[in-house]
Symmetry: C2
Subunit: 176 residues, 2 copies
């Protein structure tokens, strides 16, 4: 990144958080910046998030960490999700040390915080170790107040209307 | 689009409207859907929006229509902007007739409405002509209530914090 790197947060209950991060990744890639895209609590094997494939094809490094979530799968224990999330933070710590990227996206990390799998201070401590020119984007509903205070740019995406409310199911190419 | 096509609106004063639309385009392209990405009131020659280039590279058709805006350039008359916007609607009408696409994004069209260059009824009439399986995404702050009522999915992106407030200028790869 050729300018100061900030911390961005996209939160709220509306559609557009992950897609905003993906769009930002595309914009950065278009300028030749190096992009790392990490998702938490997503299972690409099940849903085959097509945006991950396109990001990879365009030069981003893409990783899915801590794929499980105890609310989505009752057989998954919260302790094992926390363990996976902590491993994820360890992985990100190495990414930060490597200083290889201009933009780092951590999709759905707010879900780890909301679910209590990670503590806000753990995430903030990690972010404090980021290289000064690295832009970091965090997404997911329920961003804690402390994280919002810490961040430089925060957008809250409010659902005014969503077709789920009309019982229209997740649509390929739109919701995943 | 292999499912029902809806109307989505991304509005509000926060960062993430255009990038959410770009991310959605990438997701759709990843599933092999045909994407048309149109921007209003943007001047790619001046700003070289890198996301347009990446969208093109990945198979989307990209058009910048009605590039001028009388608020951004005092020498531009509102009447000529309205004329350009109406031409833009004519162009989109042909796109709808062509039935070539699965996803049509009209970036910043809400700005045409907010500026009074287009009437909400003109845009809604056009949207009523869309093929049933075409998903349409409209972005820009200040979406009128009538458009919000007409749409199926609406996200309002609220600025909680933006670095512009700290006098940090537009950054390459992040804001454009």
């Amino acid at each position: 990144m050729k300018s100061i790197g900030l911390i961005q947060v996209y939160t709220g209950d509306g559609k557009g958080k992950t897609t905003a991060a993906v769009g930002l990744a595309i914009r950065a890639l278009g300028h030749g910046f190096k992009v790392c895209y990490i998702s938490f609590h997503k299972n690409p094997e099940k849903w085959g998030y097509s945006e991950h494939a396109v990001l990879k094809k365009n030069g981003a490094d893409v990783f899915a960490l801590a794929g499980k979530h105890s609310l989505c799968n009752k057989r998954v224990h919260a302790a094992s999700v926390r363990e996976d999330c902590l491993k994820g933070l360890g992985f990100i710590k190495e990414i930060l040390k490597g200083k290889k990227y201009d933009l780092l996206i951590i999709d759905e990390i707010n879900i780890s915080l909301r679910g209590g799998y990670l503590k806000t201070d753990e995430v903030i401590s990690l972010l404090q170790e980021k290289p000064p020119d690295l832009e970091v984007v965090l997404t997911g509903r329920g961003a804690p107040v402390k994280l919002i205070k810490f961040a430089d740019l925060v957008s809250r995406i409010k659902k005014v209307k969503h077709p789920y409310d009309k019982s229209i199911k997740r649509r390929k190419g739109i919701e995943y």
